[in-house]
Amino acid sequence: MGNNFKVTGTSLTIYLPAEVDHHNAEALKNDADRLIQNQNIRCIIFDFAQTNFMDSSGIGMIMGRYKNLRFMGGNVIAIRVNERIRRILTMSGIYKVIDIYEDIPQQSKLL
């Protein structure tokens, strides 16, 4: 871990790897959950800038974090999503519960 995460206040930015599959998602899940617990995280930003592949394991990973955070009144967003990833997010229906932004929304209270 290390470079893949950034904590700002109670916001956690997760810089996703080039490929988010079952293998990578499992590792991310464990590291992210430790941070979420220890740092009292209320908002997760999934940054897809480096990502060009994701399958349903990635959807499961995002859904899982979303459920945990919603339970505590938190928020989850996705940023810098390319066409392919947008299609996967749309097909899975997950776009209905997490907002997709071009970049970190400047005017928001997220950061």
């Binding site: 293998h23 499992e26 592949f53 349903s56 499961g60």
Partner: protein, 148 residues
């Protein structure tokens, strides 16, 4: 112009091999001169099938997964086989959002993604014997890259 080609791949059911399997099949596919989107579609569908074999078929135990790819004219046929636990009810397993592993945060979308990204999908399974997922996709570009 007869275009027929075949390859077979066998590897351990470790999650680190998921990326390898995707790249290997994508590399085999390049001779059909596919678009980037077609490559991405095949990679996603294959990833779902291989992940299923690892998580559900072998339930995390290390065993062999076999991938058989066959190119016939403009169609690629991909079979992903395991000798794992098999599926009790294939019809139910293919329902969107159905999952037997909701505690592991599985989205239940594997088969839906395979169906969405490929042209056809067949699942043969016998409990205790294993599962074979067969998918086909027509690659629409006509010019063949290497042979004629």
């Amino acid at each position: 112009m007869s275009v027929e080609n075949e390859m077979k791949l066998e590897f351990d059911s470790r999650s680190c091999n998921e990326g390898f399997a995707r790249v290997a099949v994508a590399a085999f596919l390049t001779q059909m001169n596919p678009t980037l989107e077609e490559v991405a579609d095949v990679k996603t569908a294959l990833s779902e099938a291989v992940t299923n074999a690892i998580i559900h078929g072998y339930e995390g135990k290390v065993n062999k997964i076999t991938i058989l790819c066959h190119i016939r004219q403009q169609t690629i046929e991909i079979e992903v086989m395991d000798q794992g636990v098999g599926i009790q009810n294939v019809e139910e397993a293919m329902e969107p959002l159905f999952t037997t592993k909701s505690d592991c945060e599985r989205a239940g979308m594997g088969f839906s993604f395979m169906e969405a990204f490929m042209d056809s999908l067949q699942v043969q399974s016998e409990p205790g014997k294993g599962t074979c997922v067969k998918m086909t996709k027509k690659i629409l570009r006509t010019e063949n890259k290497y042979e004629r």
